[in-house]
Symmetry: C2
Subunit: 227 residues, 2 copies
DNA sequence: TACTTCAAACTAGTATACAAGTTTTTTAGA
DNA sequence: TCTAAAAAACTTGTATACTAGTTTGAAGTA
């Protein structure tokens, strides 16, 4: 488990939530492993209470499964939940990129452009940095459309998806996501909703290809279909 | 505050969450009022802990606003958050009703039909019962499409919307929602995605009309636009 | 050795106690 | 009476203590 210092602006609960989330997404906490409240509390120098509350929130998205009086199971990579997370993101964000064509102001376009340049810079250098920029790019679309509450809900579910993207960035060589993002950006800049829509859907379709590769390489982390 | 007995299958935290939610949506707890953890804990015969955790979860959807060391504010009716909740529901459920045309089995159609008959029965008799059946109808669409995790996320945000629907059912006389639901059902039964889509969008558009009526009648509960 | 039983060592859920910050009330002073 | 400062009475955040249930492992029995 990777522990970063506590940000002065965050509460103990927020600190615990952020740290656990980061470690689950980065796979520093392995899918299928058990984590104890006391164990994490000790590592973070906190009591059980804020850790308990953080795990409670994480359990809402089923990224962890609290087994009362037993422990806290970090979920295996579950293709059904990833499917749901993808469905939600594709559905919501497809609608958003169309709206963004109308709503994006000059400063919004500037911000997206800056983000894209950083993505291009870090493309082959730092996968984790790229992932953070990717997330920020998508988040900006929500911000442009004044849908930050939706972003919170979608991002909570996206953790299932993010964990796999984390794998993907490290194992899949041929990355097209940055050029995808630029195509989406250009469509928004040209205020062309149809182009934005198709560029976004092309972007999200790419994942289908990667899934087969990931299944092969990380079989041990992938849940058996329950049916 | 209306207190129902604790269901034997639910934990104290779930009991607190359910009770507080129900009272916020039914407006038995007034928008803009302050509620204390201790106060609610005493009413429910619990300690602060499970109540605290329930309020924490509610704060994630911004239906309550926890002010540290001050108290817990039940949010005013906020048109921006309602807009977001509606956007999310319309976007997600429009996609779902299309999919449902393909995925609905005989037993699913049977279940929807039964629900519809109950809706028709309670239409002019019991607004709260009707609201519950309405929610169950929409939830069934998620179930048919295997998207229950999405349902949880959407429903958490929908509380803003639900609170207004609760007003609407009591104050708006001309209710078309049941016939809307039947139109959606018939489209799914005929496996006609285009018809399902348009029936659903017609259903959700209806709310625009009611909003003006609600604003007039319940002005005291509606937040000032912050901008 | 293999199986049972029971106790000890874990787990999370919840109650309580205290810490830290805000609001309200009281009191002192003019 | 009015103002200002201090203290008391609140609030939530967090730590700790206890409860209840699960797992584990050792002791006892065949």
């Amino acid at each position: 488990m990777v522990i970063t210092p506590k940000n002065s602006s965050e509460s103990n609960r927020e600190y615990a939530f952020r740290t656990i989330s980061e470690n689950i997404i980065s796979l520093d906490i392995e899918p299928g492993s058990m984590i104890g409240e006391q164990e994490i509390a000790t590592m973070l120098g906190l009591s059980r209470t804020p850790v308990h509350e953080a795990l409670l929130e994480l359990s809402k998205s089923k990224i962890v499964d609290i087994l009362p009086q037993k422990g806290c199971l970090v979920s295996m990579i579950d293709s059904e939940l990833i499917r749901e997370a993808r469905f939600l993101r594709i559905t919501v964000e497809t609608a958003l990129v169309e709206d963004a064509c109308e709503l994006a102001k000059e400063e919004d376009l500037k911000y997206l452009e800056d983000n894209l340049e950083l993505q291009e810079f870090y493309l082959s250098k730092d996968p984790d940095k790229l992932l953070a920029l990717d997330n920020e790019f998508h988040k900006s679309i929500y911000r442009i459309c004044n849908k930050m509450q939706c972003h919170y809900m979608v991002s909570l579910m996206s953790m299932h998806f993010d964990r796999v993207r984390s794998l993907s960035l490290h194992s899949v060589k041929d990355l097209k996501i940055v050029s995808d993002h630029r195509a989406i950006f250009e469509a928004i800049k040209k205020k062309d909703p149809a182009a934005a829509r198709s560029a976004f859907q092309k972007h999200m379709a790419r994942f289908e290809l990667d899934w087969n590769i990931i299944c092969r390489e990380y079989k041990k982390y992938i849940a058996e279909p329950s049916r």
